[in-house]
């Protein structure tokens, strides 16, 4: 006999629709991959990567490990919903299989099991082997999820307890889905309790006792109330499933695909692609990126944060001004629990807005550098801070290095600022010029003072030479004993430039250098969490007043432990800070140069 009642229809319809959407979009995304990536995907499915992908899905999508690392309460809240619901579905399926008389059950059967089976005698498994095992387990899991629901409600008012100052402003679809999601579990608890109470059996430690209470309170009518609650439960599930593809919860299926894309070695692309679309869909709008964005915390700009930007891209409503209003400092990317390449998606959108204008760089001269073993490229910004150039020249002379100063007469831009505007082709022309200049110098080591140049040299130039930032090179010189140093006893705070730290993963060299010449003091947000100085070339649409707010805020934090000197490793950071800092701002090279004995 097939168990059926009309109320299973909303749930069943919702589930079928959701499965249809997932299959439709997954196939669309996988088929839109370029051939080599599709081959990677096919190969990946039958490799060990598939299982490590499954493990990652378990750890990140269900347990929410990264959320736990951030804040235990936040992690528990996400885990109770994801892992709790997953286990509830799993245990419910096993339970229904054991108790059912037929082998093929309709998908709604485990979900509404207690409506269909309330006769204890059917439960032979529990009576004979582990009495009450599933009744206990199902109640326990339901309460586990409900504990997360209570936390989620508390988070609405007390987000600070969860390590968040601001939370995401939700859209209509998000709110509808959220209301349904919040309804599902309490309604399930009530529906089961009323049913168990009416029949006087079948419930676990929570549902049975609650049910008995309801039976006393509502007597005969508890049967009708139970039936209404089963309808409500099914409706909440059905509406949740139907709204899911249009809400933030679309991240649930999409993140799974993203994890496999990454595991199978499919690389992110520079232009809009399946990969970027999957990343955009995988954003859960958890809002962790909101607090770290300095445009919000320091400059009171609250509509451009990664979560809103990705949402507007997904809804195809992104504007040029918002796309260009981002420091591209990488702080949100660093903190994103899904690991979305947010900066890259920002640049993809900028590329889409970059328009039809070609550049005219016909004025670039023929590169004709002198041959030398070491080539030094100061960069545009360093030309605005001549003291850094003076320091570098002094140190290189002291060490007796045969070097050629590639851009002594003025730089041709490295191309990264142009790339940040989304103009790839135009940046390519500048890159070609500088690449030729570097190659013709015949140097085997390229040293630059600007982290912006450093990053683009490494990422885009494809040079057959060693590329070093001056902090790395100076550390080498000092370690090899070519530059004698004495310690200057000054308390210094070090600021990590975005493109050197998060952008190029170099945190050690400048600190090691500074430790040799001065005393480093604690800085509240450093290394991966370092602040942007506010001078970023990544942002186009911002007023100079707002920039100053970011700079002042960063300065307050950097100087909170009372250093005598603020040291950085980027001419742009130095220039930006110097205008507003109450203390001296120096580059690491200047500190080193100042520590060379007379």
């Amino acid at each position: 006999m097939i168990s059926f009642n009309l109320f299973v229809l909303p749930f069943s319809f919702g589930l079928i629709y959701l499965l249809y959407m997932i299959i439709r979009w997954w196939t669309k995304w996988i088929r839109a991959l370029p051939p080599e990536d599709r081959a990677r995907f096919r190969k990946g499915i039958f490799s060990r990567q598939f299982f490590s992908g499954l493990k990652e899905v378990f750890l990140e999508s269900l347990v929410h490990r990264k959320m736990f690392r951030r804040n235990a309460l936040l992690g528990f809240m996400h885990m109770s919903f994801a892992l709790g619901w997953f286990l509830l579905i799993l245990a419910g399926n096993i339970e229904s299989r054991i108790y059912s008389t037929s082998h093929v059950n309709p998908p709604y059967y485990p979900i509404f099991l207690k409506f269909f089976i309330h006769d204890r005698t059917v439960l032979w498994f529990e009576i004979n082997t582990v009495p009450g095992f599933f009744r206990f387990l199902m109640d326990f899991l339901l309460l586990f999820i409900l504990s997360g629901l209570i936390l989620a409600m508390i988070k609405r008012g007390r987000s600070r307890w969860f390590g968040m100052t601001r939370t995401t402003h939700s859209q209509l679809t998000d709110r509808v889905a959220l209301v349904c999601l919040w309804l599902i579990f309490p309604v399930r608890l009530l529906a089961e309790s009323f049913t168990d109470g009416y029949y006087g059996a079948g419930g676990g430690f929570a549902t049975q006792h609650l049910g008995n209470l309801f039976a006393v309170l509502f007597r005969e009518s508890s049967q009708h109330i139970a039936y209404a609650l089963w309808w409500l439960y099914s409706l909440a599930l059905g509406i949740f499933f139907v709204t899911l593809p249009f809400s933030r919860y679309w991240h649930i299926p999409t993140e799974v695909l993203l994890i496999f894309f990454r595991r199978f070695g499919i690389p992110p692309k520079r232009i809009a692609s399946s990969f970027s679309q999957v990343e955009i869909g995988a954003c859960s709008r958890c809002g962790v990126c909101i607090d770290v964005c300095q445009l919000g915390s320091a400059a009171r700009i609250h509509d451009i944060q990664a979560v809103y930007f990705l949402r507007s891209v997904r809804d195809e409503q992104v504007s040029r001004d918002i796309t260009l209003r981002c420091l591209v400092c990488g702080r949100c990317q660093e903190t994103c629990p899904v690991g979305i390449n947010i900066d890259l998606i920002r640049l993809i959108e900028r590329y889409n807005f970059s328009g039809s204008h070609a550049s005219d760089f016909t004025y670039l001269p023929e590169p004709a550098p002198r041959k030398a073993q070491v080539a030094y490229f100061a960069g545009c910004m360093t030309h605005l801070t001549p003291s850094i150039i003076r320091a570098m020249k002094g140190i290189l002379q002291e060490a007796g290095i045969d070097y050629h100063f590639l851009d002594e007469e003025g730089s041709v831009c490295c191309g990264r600022p142009m790339m940040l505007s989304g103009k790839h082709e135009q940046a390519g022309e500048l890159i070609r010029f500088n690449r030729e200049l570097i190659l013709q110098s015949g140097a085997d080591t390229l040293v630059t003072s600007c982290p912006i140049c450093f990053r683009v040299f490494r990422e885009e130039y494809n040079l057959p030479v060693r590329i070093l930032h001056h902090t790395q090179y100076l550390l080498e010189l000092i370690k090899s004993g070519k530059v004698p140093l004495q310690t200057v006893f000054r308390k210094v705070a070090y600021h990590d430039p975005c493109d050197l730290g998060r952008g190029s993963n170099e945190y050690r060299a400048p600190r090691e250098l500074l430790a040799k010449v001065a005393e480093l003091v604690e800085v509240p947000e450093e290394k991966e969490d370092a602040l942007c100085c506010g001078g970023s070339l990544g942002i186009y649409t911002i007023s100079s007043r707002k920039r100053d707010l970011i700079t002042s805020d960063a300065l307050d934090k950097l100087t909170s432990s009372g250093p005598e000197v603020l040291v950085t490793a980027c001419p742009l950071c130095k220039k930006t800070f110097s205008r507003l800092a109450g203390i001296e701002v120096l580059d690491v090279a200047e500190m080193v140069y100042g520590a060379i004995p007379e």
């Binding site: 039809s356 204008h357 550049s359 760089f361 004025y363 670039l364 605005l384 600022p417 940040l420 186009y540």
Partner: protein, 110 residues
């Protein structure tokens, strides 16, 4: 002969009452800092491109106000967007977006 010295070439005539203000108006809305320029020339003095070619942000400002769209379009192509000018500007003119916004405005005209 009587017009000697007073001839004005039509194409060199700039009628401030009939300027094509469409690009300027777009900028007033999207990059209002353009109006604070005092034409001090610091940007031009520090310009990376300006060291290699005749490129002058003040000229860009002039062309913008005169509504000379074709020469404006040609001029802004020389910019490398390196951003030195922004750091130098005493008036906080956002030069990099000035260049991009001019291009966007011209794209919108077509």
């Amino acid at each position: 002969m009587k017009e000697f010295g007073y001839t004005v070439h039509k194409e060199r005539l700039i009628d401030y009452d009939r300027n094509d203000k469409r690009v300027l108006n777009h900028l007033k809305k999207h990059e209002p800092s353009v109006l604070t320029c005092i034409a001090c020339g610091s940007c031009t003095a520090t310009c990376s491109a300006g060291q290699l070619v005749d490129f002058n942000i003040r000229l860009v400002q002039t062309l913008l106000r005169r509504g000379e769209i074709e020469p404006l379009k040609k001029e802004v192509r020389k910019c490398m967007l390196c951003g030195k000018c922004i750091l130098i500007c005493p008036r906080g003119v956002n030069m990099r977006n000035l260049i991009l916004a001019i291009q966007t405005a011209i794209d919108k005209l077509q």
